[in-house]
Amino acid sequence: MQPRPQSHSAALGPGCTGPSLANPTPLAFDHQRQVAQAPSCGAEAFAVDPAALANGQPRKHTTYPYVTGTSVLGITYKDGVLLASDTLGAYGSTKRYKSFDRLRKVNESCIVGAGGELSDFQYIMRLLEELSDDDFCMDDGHTLKPAEVHSYLCRVLYNRRNKMDPLWNSLVVGGFHAGKPFLGTVGMQGTNYTDAHVATGFGNHLARPLMREHHRPDMSEEEATALLHQCLKVCYYRDKNSINKFTIAKVSAEGVTISEPFALETEWRYKLFENPAANAAGAW
């Protein structure tokens, strides 16, 4: 992967690199970078806007997330991996964007799900799409394996964290390669691990206990889906920043399918909910 000329246009803001078409292609397209022997893979993702660094100030506006997604759940089953999440992009406590796909396909053997700052997730998806496009253009049969996607994302997130300009995401990478399912997670500091079932955010507290109790690596797809529905329900009940609109993504030997959004049955008619002010001490 050769680094491409980037457009650090002020219109896009610092820390953002635009498409190379924003710059006219120089006649002398020099692949060499300032430092001899600088790597040619991973270069773009790790690039920091030099203009901002020149100011000497650490960047502050990327140290707080604005539009966020909540938990992502992932489990392996006999023939592959299932990821699940809701489709909400929350703006603080406002449930602002209710149809945001937080589970995306990378290639035929890999999917990625994200919680946290959704614009950073879109940037990450752009990086992954560029890698997949490169693979397609090389046309040599090699595609990114799920473990390679996971490793790449670890390096990107860790690198950005070291530059004090994190990509504010908790990612789940799921895939199926060489007959084996792969499931891993990467946090915004670059913390990463692989496991048979993972969850980000609130899901770690709400869903993992259920997964620990019910998950088996040889589950069938129906059992795995039922377990995920159960976990999603709990997350919806207990997580304030969630809505009753979910998608489930599946990777298996046949490839990737991402379901249409669906809702789950929930029960709210509890007696104590009927008159919420009954035991309140009174308001001002």
């Binding site: 022997q37 790597p39 991973g42 040599d140 049969g141 090699h142 990114l144 473990a147 390679e148 790449y152």
Partner: protein, 285 residues
């Protein structure tokens, strides 16, 4: 190829559509000592003849490990070869760091070729004067590639380059159909026998050649001196049967794939000068 008015620099085309400086760079590869690469379904093998600048010095290294799953043999300007070797090692290391997996050979070879092409594109640069045989194993099996100073790269089943390499090519053209299923020992012996065809005088010893092997379960291993001795001995044992030394006429041998037996006896002449049998247009289309 003679001096002419179109060979002054990199950026001048001849009326026949040739850039002579690039072709002269490819000649530099033919000045280096011979190197061969071949592969089977499971292994890829490199073998090179080492030269010593004088009796007092050690032999010049020609085989370099790039990563656990690949290595190169160089022929031509050694200094250029070292730079490309360093570039390849860097790329492999970075690939391992970012993706935690070995770099696919085709990608790296393509990157090296793109880098070499840049040297042929500008008047303020010169082409690299070194040819690389890249041998390695990745997910799609063993590979042998050849990187040319022109910036081209080729996928080979077996290849030889350097001085008097036509003789080695001839040997391999006759035998390459047996390579696919050959055992590792047989493959190394074939490599050494091909190399022997390129020897001007003297014999193969464990001091003047080096061999490297890499395979699916076997990381890139350099065989030199003691570890090479058994293979040299095995080749020497079979010497009488290997009397089909190279014919001087490169062209004639090209099509004599199966008909080797007829030519055996009379082609015992030395293999002088056919290494640069440049009768074929060096510019591969």
């Amino acid at each position: 190829m003679f001096r002419n008015q179109y060979d002054q620099d990199n950026t001048t085309w001849s009326p026949q559509g040739r850039i002579f400086q690039i072709e002269y760079a490819m000649e530099a590869v033919k000045q280096g000592s011979a190197a061969v690469g071949l592969k089977s379904h499971e292994y890829a093998v490199l073998a090179t003849l080492k030269r010593a600048p004088s009796e007092l010095s050690s032999y010049q290294r020609k085989v370099f490990k790039i990563d656990d799953h690949m290595g190169i043999a160089i022929s031509g300007l050694t200094a250029d070869g070292r730079i490309l070797c360093r570039y390849m090692r860097n790329e492999c290391l970075n690939h391992r760091y970012v993706y935690e997996s070995p770099m696919p050979l085709g990608r790296l070879v393509r990157q090296v070729a793109d880098k070499a092409q840049m040297g042929t594109h500008y008047s303020h640069k010169r082409p690299y004067g070194v040819g690389l045989i890249v041998a390695g194993v990745d997910e799609s099996g063993p590979h042998v590639f050849y990187n040319c100073p022109s910036g081209n790269y080729y996928d080979y089943k077996a290849f030889a380059m350097g001085a008097r390499s036509q003789a080695a090519k001839t040997y391999m053209e006759r035998q390459f159909e047996t390579f696919a299923d050959a055992s590792l020992d047989d493959l190394v012996k074939h490599a050494l026998q091909a190399l022997q065809a390129s020897l001007a005088d003297g014999e193969l010893t464990d001091k003047n050649c080096s061999v490297a092997v890499v395979g699916k379960g076997m990381p890139f291993t350099l065989l030199e001196d003691e570890s090479l001795a058994p293979y040299i001995a095995a080749v020497k044992e079979e010497e009488p049967a290997v009397a089909e030394a190279a014919p001087a006429q490169g062209e004639a041998a090209m099509e004599a794939e199966g008909g080797a037996a007829a030519g055996e006896g009379e082609q015992q002449q030395g293999d002088g000068g056919d290494g640069d049998a440049g009768g074929q247009a060096p510019m591969e289309q």
